[in-house]
């Protein structure tokens, strides 16, 4: 069904004969770049990991164990954005097959995942009549959304939704800093990082205690992660304490400092023009120092014969002046760190994390603008993640077409470049998570049994 469907379905079909990559690839399998409903249908039909999504969202409640909460999955809100911009909120499903059938039938351009509610969200109106507000979110993963557009004032290579290999490492740094803290500070273990398909990353913290956090507790974690205060209307952007809080100190020495000095400084050429270095000088609250540096750098223009990179030289000069013994004022001492934090520290979209009922796009969706699949990112080797080589819808379809001679339909994804992502999702995230969920269910059951036994003894 694949090839014919695709070819018949898309009117502007042009066989791209000159596909350079993959010499062994048959030309006839080439699928034009882009995104459309027909491609998506094939994707949902053959590649989207419906069963894994169901298992994940069930958190162990899909088993036969007597302590399973059979209504759990059915109280989860899904929301679909359809082709014609119709937005369907409060969709809910009672089984894996209901979910899968609905996705295949409606072929949503985007699937969002919301919270688990107290009652089936599809029937919320029936409950609303009773007056008491029984319809309320009760569980939700702790989620984070980091978007490269929020870094526009510190990247010079791209702006807006564009992203390239020079600015993407800002996302890598964000993953490292937040992931380490979620694990070491907050003690969470089941964390899924996902490429948002275009310009950022999403994070899903799925531990039981993360899912049960109140809005206030979510906000407190988001605030804990926030150092970037204020905006273009106010002066100060990053204001640090001396000494740093251990979390920030660790982030600085283990991630940010090195990234700033050995990568960002050069890739974004932070001191290369007057406009750029002025932005950094603005962060120094002492005019004699800024004018001294300014003087050096303006003269430097003529004699830039040094073989060392200007950005590195100027950064070293700035550090030297600020950290030299003369500068006793705390404000100046912390200035170097503040500059590094301003340019590199993660910038979270706070609203997404603060409220249980904020929707977030599901992993393995396809971004309609880029055609790229929202694949998981392994935080342990996030440097290796390259957003420009994430499988696109058209590439995956080509790969299916190529292998269409083989018969085993169950694992169609296994021989596409999505296979790696799904395997990673299963082995590193889903299996350990479900193991713990089952244990929790077992434990709570035993505790209940024990409890009822004790009460019988009375």
């Amino acid at each position: 069904m694949t090839r014919e469907d695709i070819e018949n379905g898309s009117e502007d079909m042009v066989i791209d004969e000159g596909k350079p990559e993959g010499g062994e690839r048959m030309q006839g399998n080439a699928v034009p770049e882009g995104f459309n409903a027909n491609y998506l249908k094939v994707y949902y039909g053959k590649l989207f990991p419906h069963a894994d999504m169901f298992k994940w969202m069930s958190y162990g409640n899909d088993g036969k164990h007597p302590a399973c909460d059979q209504s759990y999955f059915g109280r989860r809100e899904f929301s679909f954005t359809l082709d014609n911009d119709i937005y369907l909120r409060f969709q809910s499903f009672n089984s894996a097959s209901e979910l899968e059938n609905s996705i295949k039938e409606k072929c949503p351009f985007k699937i969002d995942i919301g919270p688990v509610y107290s009652v089936d969200p599809a029937k919320r109106h029936a409950y609303a009549q009773s007056g008491d507000n029984v319809f309320a979110p009760v569980e939700r993963e702790l989620v984070f959304d980091i978007d490269i557009t929020d870094y526009d004032d510190v990247r010079y290579c791209c702006s807006g939704a564009d992203v390239c290999l020079d600015c993407w490492p800002l996302m890598t740094v964000a993953i490292k800093v937040i992931d380490a803290s979620l694990r070491d500070d907050f003690g969470f273990n089941h964390i899924l990082w996902v490429y948002s398909g275009r310009r950022g990353v999403h994070c899903w913290v799925c531990d039981g205690k993360a899912r049960r956090l109140t809005n206030e507790q979510r906000a407190s974690i988001a605030e804990y992660f926030r150092v970037y205060k204020g905006n273009e209307n106010s002066h100060k952007k990053v204001s640090l304490t001396v000494p740093l809080h251990p979390f920030l100190g660790r982030s600085y020495t283990e991630v940010l400092k090195d990234f700033f000095e050995s990568k960002l400084l050069l890739s974004q050429k932070l001191f290369s023009t007057e406009e750029r270095y002025e932005k950094i000088l603005e962060m120094i609250p002492d005019e004699s120092i800024t004018s001294e540096l300014r003087g050096k750098w303006q003269d430097n223009k003529r004699s830039s014969m040094s073989k060392e990179d200007t950005n590195v030289v100027r950064w070293e000069q700035l550090k030297h002046i600020l950290q030299s013994g003369k500068q006793k004022a705390q404000a100046l001492q912390r200035c170097v760190k503040e500059i590094v934090f301003s340019f590199t520290y993660p910038r979270l979209d706070m609203e997404v994390s603060k409220h249980m009922n904020h929707l977030l796009k599901a992993p393995f969706c396809v971004h309609p603008k880029t055609g790229r699949v929202c694949v998981p990112i392994d935080p342990n080797c996030c440097e290796e993640f390259d957003p420009t080589s994430v499988p696109t819808l058209s590439k995956l379809l080509e790969e299916i077409n190529m292998g269409s001679l083989r018969a085993d339909i169950d694992n169609e994804w296994d021989r596409t470049s999505l296979g790696k992502s799904i395997r990673f999702f299963r082995s590193s995230f889903l299996q350990p998570l479900l193991k713990v969920c089952k244990e929790e269910i077992e434990n709570s059951y035993n505790a209940k049994l024990q409890h009822s036994k004790n009460s019988l003894n009375w």
Partner: protein, 459 residues
């Protein structure tokens, strides 16, 4: 209540605290006048706290504010009655403020703030006794564990300017969920899901407990109120209770102003004449960027709703701007919903109320945000420039900046209002929609008087 007190006496006789936990309603006989008077007195305290918070008072200053408010309002000629007055007034206000979500929220925040500062006045011993009363399951960190985390603990302590001394080297290790405010401010060391709370921070721990007890109690009280009390007391207590909360909270501007609706065409002109600075700024940025982030859309959108912009006009207004940046399609898809939501046409169908100054002042705008209170959130330079644009003369700008420096943001806004309108505004500015209404009224009366003058000149 008697029971609780005698228990405490029995357990910790020398650490008696005068701070009740309000676990159960007092079995006391109360005279009807006292019922109301005590409640009014307490309300003055809570309202004072609310005002101080909205003026952006720092925690250090709040202590003194609360102490003064308490002294001024909660005394009783008979020493033995002081505790009773405290308890009675609390329970009366519980009744008055249990009846809607907004009332509960306000009461909960103010009572918790009050409790927090009163707890701080207590001696260390009394504090420990109160902690025991809450029956918190936390143990102090052992010596061995303290030694192994000492460096980190001291790093946190120095980072918040409260270096460790040997005296308060008592730490409690608690799930981080229990102390959200300490986590949010990075005021504790957090490790593997636990926060290390210093003795001088236990107030947060206790306040969280207090808050959650009270929150649950308010829901129960509300049920009792609707099921029995309102009916039984319809002639006696209910009228007093119902009057108590309205007598003080002031209008919430959820109903469009009495001046009638406004249309899109008028917006530019009335923005120029009658928007407070915070809304002017949002309006300007919206025009400039054709976009506002969530916080800005909420603050400005609800304000517009409050001044009488109808839903259809609001949709058209936002669309006209946003579509220039994100396209009409994306607007309909991603933004229209939340505007209808603000008007109670989607989701919970709650009719949202415009933000008050207090809420705006306490918000914390981040990168790319334009909401918040300019007097609080702008740098001095930017604020001066903004005031200049509103054509304030130098003298007035200096007066405003003076208030800003002493963190009287609402007074700063009031001065701006007075400078622009050339009249005094004795009530002060408490709400952007009040600023707008007062401004419009002022302009109307000016117009009328000029019409009259013209008329007389013609005669």
């Amino acid at each position: 209540m008697e029971i609780v007190r005698s228990q405490r006496k029995a357990l910790h006789y020398d650490a008696v605290s005068t701070l009740p936990l309000y676990r159960s309603a007092p079995p006391l006989e109360v005279r009807l006048e006292d019922f109301e008077l005590f409640a009014m007195d307490r309300l003055r305290v809570l309202k004072g706290i609310s005002d101080a918070l909205s003026r952006g008072k720092k925690p250090e200053e709040m202590g003194q504010v609360v102490r003064d408010l308490w002294k001024a309002n909660m005394r009783h000629p008979e020493a033995s009655e002081v505790v009773n007055k405290d308890i009675i007034s609390h329970f009366v206000l519980r009744l008055a403020y249990c009846r809607t979500e907004d009332l509960r929220k306000w009461f909960l925040s103010m009572e918790t703030a009050l409790f927090r500062y009163r707890f701080r006045f207590e001696s260390a011993e009394a504090q420990r006794a109160l902690m025991a009363e809450f029956d918190l399951p936390y143990k102090a960190v052992s010596n061995a564990e303290f030694e192994s985390t000492k460096d980190k603990l001291s790093q946190v302590a120095r980072s918040i300017g409260l270096p460790l001394s040997t005296a308060d080297a008592v730490f409690y290790k608690v799930p981080f969920e229990e102390v959200p405010e300490l986590v949010a401010g990075r005021r504790v060391f957090v490790h593997k899901g636990h926060a290390y709370v210093a003795m001088n921070q236990v107030v947060s721990l206790v306040a969280t407990q207090f808050r959650s007890h009270l929150s649950k109690a308010l829901i129960l009280t509300n049920r009792k109120w609707t099921s029995t009390i309102r009916e039984q007391e319809s002639n006696r207590l209910a009228p007093i209770v119902e009057a108590l909360c309205t007598s003080y909270l002031g209008p919430d501007y959820s109903e469009p102003r009495e001046l009638g609706d406004i249309s899109i065409k008028e917006i530019d002109q009335i923005a120029q004449s009658s928007f407070p600075l915070c809304m002017r700024h949002l309006f300007e940025k919206l025009r400039e960027d054709h976009h506002l982030k969530h916080g800005g859309r909420m603050q400005f959108g609800l304000f517009l709703k409050g001044i009488g912009l109808k839903l259809d006009d609001a949709l058209a207004f936002w669309k006209a701007e946003f579509s220039q940046k994100v396209g009409a399609e994306r607007f309909d898809k991603e933004y229209a919903y939340s505007i209808r939501h603000n008007y109670g046409r989607e989701g919970k169908r709650t009719d949202y109320t415009p933000y008050s100054c207090q809420k705006i002042i306490s918000s914390s705008p981040g990168v790319g945000d334009h909401h918040g209170c300019p007097y609080r959130h702008f740098s001095e330079e930017n604020l001066r420039a903004a005031l200049g644009k509103m054509r304030l003369n130098n003298r007035a700008v200096e007066d405003v900046m003076d208030k800003v420096r002493s963190r009287h943001y609402q007074l700063a806004c009031t001065l701006t209002f007075e400078a622009i309108h050339g009249t005094s505004c004795d009530a002060g500015i408490n709400h952007p929609n009040q600023y707008f209404t007062d401004s419009q009224k002022n302009l109307q009366s000016k117009n009328q008087s000029t019409v009259q003058e013209n008329f007389q000149a013609h005669l």
